[in-house]
């Protein structure tokens, strides 16, 4: 069934969009990532103009995250205090990031920077998660003594120590604030919600339990995605609600299924699977950088 998208100005198969939304929503509920890093390239692939794809996927991320957050909240897996602190850093970081984005665009190489950012960050994070997840699983198989909850380092010497009861952490509030800031900068440049950077950062840098990380990450993504949706709609008129509605029906359902399956999986497995997914996307982008293009001439973003 073909449906015409009024802002993207093309006609697409509604069932294709429902399916695409479903797959992305499933991953979102399972791993706590927004899914923008997968959705945006997929939409561009089916012919949606890149500017509309970036803006509309943000709108879809809101729906899948809300759906996921409710499900995680019911299981007591959302640390709201941590979420607010991360969000504070995130808003400050994305403001700086938007400025940096304009600077890079004026230098004319924003596409390259975005691709390199993806490859470097996705590659590093994905590889680390795969290695760590595998090790943790092997350790459990051998039934070795459980490792300490987290390592103590200079991070624990910082001021403004705060207790995050839900995450069972007693650390300086500056740490999540700084992580939120860094992710905010990157997500503004890369045009994604930042879940795939935030999730590993919360697991490895903060030492939060994996189950708690996913719910909390989704909680903060709602606000980041809402901010992006509003700014894109108000400034560029690039949010296509018809496209978003088709995607979010699939996403909402997918997120619920993902959450259910995620709650039955071990944290190690989740980290390993997310690692594999991230590395797969990264490899594709890496290969693309070196593959001769279909045509060396291409249309730019319409003026």
């Amino acid at each position: 069934m073909q449906v015409y998208l009024p802002i993207a100005e093309l006609s697409v198969d509604a069932f294709l969009l429902l399916g695409l939304g479903g797959v992305i929503g499933f991953l979102s509920g399972l791993f706590g990532v927004g899914g923008g890093f997968l959705m945006t390239p997929m939409l561009i692939f089916i012919g949606v103009p890149p500017v509309v794809a970036v803006a509309t996927q943000a709108n879809n991320v809101i729906a899948s995250s809300v759906s996921g957050v409710f499900a995680h909240w019911r299981r007591g897996n959302v640390d709201f205090k941590m979420g607010w602190v991360l969000l504070g850093g995130g808003f400050a970081g994305s403001t700086v990031g938007v400025g940096l984005f304009s600077l890079l665009r004026s230098l004319g190489q924003i596409d390259l920077v975005i691709n390199l950012c993806y490859v470097i960050f996705l590659g590093t994070i994905g590889a680390l998660m795969m290695i760590e997840g595998t090790r943790a699983m092997m350790r459990r198989r051998r039934k070795a003594a459980p490792r300490k909850l987290h390592q103590h380092s200079w991070i624990h010497g910082l001021p403004l120590k705060t207790r995050f009861r839900k995450s069972r952490l007693y650390i300086s509030a500056l740490v999540p604030l700084a992580i939120g800031f860094g992710v905010g900068v990157l997500s503004a440049i890369m045009g994604v919600g930042g879940g795939f950077i935030l999730v590993p950062a919360m697991i490895y840098l903060l030492g939060m339990p994996t189950a708690m990380v996913i719910g909390t990450s989704l909680f903060q993504i709602i606000f980041v995605a809402a901010n992006v949706t509003f700014l894109q709609a108000a400034q560029n008129q690039t949010v296509d609600v018809v496209l978003a509605m088709l995607l979010l029906v699939g996403s909402v359902v997918g997120a619920q299924i993902g959450t259910r399956i995620g709650s039955r999986l071990q944290g190690d497995w989740l980290r390993l699977l997310l690692g594999i997914l991230v590395v797969a996307v990264c490899s594709k982008l890496f290969v693309d950088l070196f593959t001769p293009p279909v045509d060396i001439y291409s249309l730019g973003v319409p003026l």
Binding site: N59, N60, A233, A234, S298
Partner: protein
């Protein structure tokens, strides 16, 4: 001051007028031969408005007409023009990156040709060039102030390829069918991704390689109903539209949760 009828000044003016009249008469005669006063060509579309509705997946419009004398018919459909930004990639340290960009003015958003016989048989190259019959004759190369002639041709060829890939410059020349000697018809196929705006449909009647008649008909492509309302909402009340989009997403997420909790 009065002029005597025999004054040299008066004779000069009279001679000038005579020459001018002669030019006008010859010109009129030529025009009459090229475009006879009685309409030698009439053509119309089955529809002058293509409405883009929710189910739009491309459109097909019938163009039909008649000529007084036998000959060939060439139909050109042209979408609204706008400037287009293009990039050229090249390899830097093994990585393909955009190393040059160019803005090309007045690129038609859609361009298709249909003809009763292959274009090369219908008209000479100079005629085809003059009436832009064929994508290669569109004036869409970057100006010579920005690129040398052969570089400009490469940009133009790249632009044409990219428009062909998206179906906006159909590769094949469409067929104009004659029913007997005088009546002709052809189908204009517009893909689902056509830009909105006013299109120009030009019909040329050619005999022995010369254009003996021409007619231009407008064709309007526009969003109607829900599609138009959503588009206008997004354009005219952008901030409110953004809030609406967020609200829809929040409600959808919540409904999903409620449905699944009960299910």
């Amino acid at each position: 001051m009065t002029w005597a009828l025999t004054s040299p000044r008066f004779r000069k003016v009279m001679a000038g007028t005579a020459v001018l009249s002669l030019i006008l008469v010859i010109g009129a005669a030529t025009l009459y031969r090229a475009f006879p006063a009685r309409a030698a060509l009439v053509a119309d579309l089955s529809d002058h408005l293509i409405a883009i509705t929710t189910g739009f997946s491309g459109a097909s419009v019938l163009l039909f007409g008649a000529t007084e004398q036998p000959g060939d018919i060439v139909v050109i459909v042209r979408g609204p023009s706008k400037p287009v930004l293009m990039h050229r990639k090249s390899r830097v340290a093994g990585i393909w990156i955009n190393t040059a960009s160019m803005t090309i003015e007045n690129v038609p958003g859609f361009y298709a040709v249909a003809s009763s016989r292959p274009l090369e048989d219908v008209a000479s190259e100079s005629i085809r060039r003059r009436h832009q019959m064929g994508v290669e004759y569109l004036p869409i190369a970057p100006p010579l102030t920005k690129a040398s002639a052969n570089i400009a041709e490469q940009w133009k060829a790249g632009l044409i390829r990219s428009q062909q890939r998206s179906g906006l410059f159909p590769n094949a020349t469409g067929r104009v069918n004659f029913l007997g000697q005088r009546l002709f018809r052809t189908r204009l196929e517009l893909p689902a991704n056509v830009p909105t705006g006013t299109y120009r449909v030009e019909v040329f009647h050619l005999r022995e390689g010369r254009v003996v008649g021409a007619q231009t008909t407008p064709l309007s492509v526009s969003k109607v109903g829900l599609e138009a309302e959503v588009f206008d909402f997004a354009q005219n009340r952008a901030a409110l539209y953004g809030l609406f989009a967020i609200l829809v997403a929040l409600v959808a997420g919540w409904i999903g949760h409620v449905v699944f909790r009960k299910g």
